[in-house]
Symmetry: C2
Subunit: 222 residues, 2 copies
């Protein structure tokens, strides 16, 4: 029973990663971040999912104060049609900040691994979602930590990195996950109901369609 920290946003990907870590028999510690994201219903979803873990901590952070993203700055418009390059929803250095906290907690817990739902396929516009980024973070972490220095590095595991949304959904359904309780929408309302047309909703919808299964997402009527 290895200990691991699972970065849990409350979205589909991190819910799947938690399912993978639990099914591998790990002792899971869930870590979420309240970073001024628009869609705080995600955090409620994270709290529900975390019932299956040994402990859940929600770190409040001031990333919104630093600005620069449509996810944390209401003056920047949310994209609805994909597009080229790095999207406006990119939060500067977000995965680096999240993984760094994960590293800190993993060291304190003496955990062997950090699970993260980073996925390169459907979010290839984000630089910190690529396999080479994860490898570089691992190399840095090995040098940054007491455990790394002592030859027991904390492993960064990103099991979804090469999966499409369809594959993620298929894995999750095999593990018995109920995606109805997860929130992906960039502008979910307080109850967690999704808008159905932001980039996150489009990717998610497309995943269920491609997997050929019913979409359990609760969309709001507008």
């Amino acid at each position: 029973m290895a200990k691991c920290v699972v970065l849990l946003s409350g979205g589909m990907d991190s819910a799947t990663v938690l399912g993978i870590a639990l099914s591998a028999g790990h002792e899971c510690y869930a870590l979420s971040f309240d970073y001024g994201q628009r869609h705080s219903a995600e955090l409620d979803a994270a709290r529900r999912l975390a019932a299956a873990t040994l402990e859940h901590r929600v770190i409040r952070m001031d990333m919104g104060q630093l600005g620069g993203s449509a996810l944390t700055d209401s003056r920047i418009s949310l994209p609805e049609n994909g597009g080229e390059g790095i999207p406006a929803t990119y939060v500067p250095a977000r995965n680096t900040v999240f993984l760094s906290y994960g590293l800190a907690w993993a060291e304190v817990l003496e955990a062997d691994a950090i699970y993260v739902g980073i996925n390169a396929i459907d979010y290839s516009g984000y630089p910190d979602c690529r396999p080479e980024y994860v490898a570089a973070f691992q190399a840095m972490a090995d040098l940054a930590t007491k455990r790394g220095v002592e030859g027991q590095p904390i492993e960064i595991r990103a099991p979804l990195i090469d999966m499409s949304k369809q594959e993620i959904i298929e894995v999750g359904l095999q593990l018995g996950l109920d995606y109805g309780g997860t929130v992906s929408c960039y502008q979910a309302d307080a109850s967690g109901a999704a808008c159905g047309h932001c980039d996150a909703c489009r990717l998610r919808k497309g995943g269920f369609e491609a997997a050929g299964v019913a979409d359990p997402t609760r969309y709001r009527v507008e």
Copy 2:
């Protein structure tokens, strides 16, 4: 006039780094962290030093919640006699978390560099104070950021990395710094007066002695 983010704790090292960045003619943006450290007088010192910058942000963070260090957990004793290995004052992954925030802000500001007072000589017990760590963080940052992807990576500058405390003090005095306004003590009181005997005080005292200059530190009478 290149823009840069300066990680500013309010201690001697970061004050010197700020002096170096300012004397190089950079537009400096100071970033400090309120992470539950025992010695909050350091933050007051940071605020005074930051008067020379264009902007100063203090990020409140929950690192204390994650525990594991004598600096953030009052149940862990502060060391007073150096000793072998990684000291109890090591805050897990602290520099990684701080540099990650610096990276986020640098990206938003479109800054060219992050200055950090990491120093390998007098704190060699901390894994995240070594040159190889800084190099690995740089490699990771180049892959993590929009700027890195676009071929304008944000440079991590640690000008003190190989300096002794004596050399740091000599550089700072040449730049006209008044170290009397900086706080290094792990258990400074609310006014910033130092205890004189914790590891941070001992290193600092030793630096002034080695440099052959008067120690401007305000020590409290006990």
